[in-house]
Amino acid sequence: MAPRTITPFGPQHPVLPEPIQLKLVLEDERVVDVLPAIGYGHRGIEKACELNEYPKNIYLCERICGICSAIHGMTYCDVVEKLWPLEIPPRAKYLRTIWAEMSRTHSHLLWLGLLSDAFGFESMFMQYWRIREKVLNILEITAGHRVTQSVSIVGGVRRDIDDDQKKHCIEVLKDVRQEVAALNNVLVNDYTVKARTVGKGVLSYDQAIALGNCGPHLRASGVKEDCRTQGYWAYGELAFEPIVATGGDSFSRAAVRIGETIQAIDLQLEAFGKMPEGEIAAKPKGNPPANEATSRVEQPRGEVFYYAKGNGTRNLERLRVRTPTYANIPSLLVMLPGCEMADVPIIVLSIDPCISCTER
């Protein structure tokens, strides 16, 4: 039997976007076992949310993660609105959907860039991020900031998108769609990309469900499961079908996210066309009642689950956040054993790890 060595992968590694440590037990170049260690990014946000008044927590929850920040803020507002329950105006639902999909577009473009960089395809990384700059610019024009947009409040949204901004956004989105589709063609048909992703990190349908995966990671194993099919916000009125792939390997995960990027742009264009006129926020009456509420929303990385408990005061009694990467990390312990050491970065990146979300 070959001697075993333990090599730490992370928490600082050039290919990792965020700090997670995976101690790889290696026999020569083959991974035999994985010992994960998280906790490098824990900030105690859930406890801090109990110490703040409920409107201020939106800004805390947005900063759980920089990439999925818009949807964290909106989900927090959604779960607190359910405590009353408070119905938000239809225009606010559409605006939230538009900003959520804009956030998903920029997140997937970021991931596609990181995936290309992981192979060493640096020029593709630069191209994807160049296109992402256009999406960040329309986020800045409409929401105010490029990252941590702070557009949502309990009761609706803080800002409206006027007709000039809407026209500009539609132009930029059509441009982005064309450029992304051209790049996606390259990524999907390239021989080297396929050699490094096809058959790597395979998870079957049953394994994906048993491990509790969520998001594009789950849909790449053939499971047709997406929180947006619940029809919250404006998704019930838009033509939405989850994108599913059947390979279960890293290539399928890339294909699902590639499809979702284009789908997110199409959903935004549809929502811009169907958005009704009206109010953008409803005023909540009094303090959040002594009640419990849960909210499941589709983030770029999967299903985020928020639980809130009010106690009649302006502070929440408890806020619990279960982020998608928290559910996806156990699948690494099944995917990595058996693969070669050079495949480890690609497989880890293919679950789209967001460790700042995981650890809050």
Binding site: Y59, L60, Q127, H145, T148, V186
Partner: protein, 121 residues
């Protein structure tokens, strides 16, 4: 070959980066950049200090001071949204970096005094 359309577009499209500082980045109209305070309009109601999520605003009611801690401020615009007199506005140009943690002290000039003897300066 499939990269050809992207390559041609980039070849004739010019660089993607901005020639800063020769060509500065103009801020967008509704971007949130930095906090601006108008002393003449503030009446020390305290809404901004109460609502600030980062505890970046303090009021000293005896000295009629409005104090901002710029290193704590996250430019979220909650203060400006809740100011009844529009004394705080968020301007689009991003704030310049600073190297010393100093607080900015301003004086509110529109405070109504109790009693008829003094009127606010």
């Amino acid at each position: 070959m499939s990269m050809l359309s992207t390559v041609c577009r980039n070849l004739f499209g010019g660089p993607a980066t901005l020639m800063y500082p020769v060509k500065p980045r103009e801020p967008y109209a509704r971007a949130r950049g930095h906090v601006e305070f108008n002393e003449d309009l503030c009446n020390q109601c305290g809404n901004c200090a109460r609502r600030c999520p980062a505890v970046a605003i303090e009021l000293n009611k005896e000295k009629k001071e409005w104090i901002l801690y710029p290193d704590r401020c996250i430019i979220c615009e909650v203060c400006a949204d809740n100011c009844p007199k529009d004394a705080i506005i968020i301007a689009p140009k991003w704030r310049a970096p600073f190297t010393v943690r100093e607080r900015i002290v301003m004086h509110s000039k529109a405070v109504k005094e109790k009693g008829a003897a003094e009127s606010g300066t």
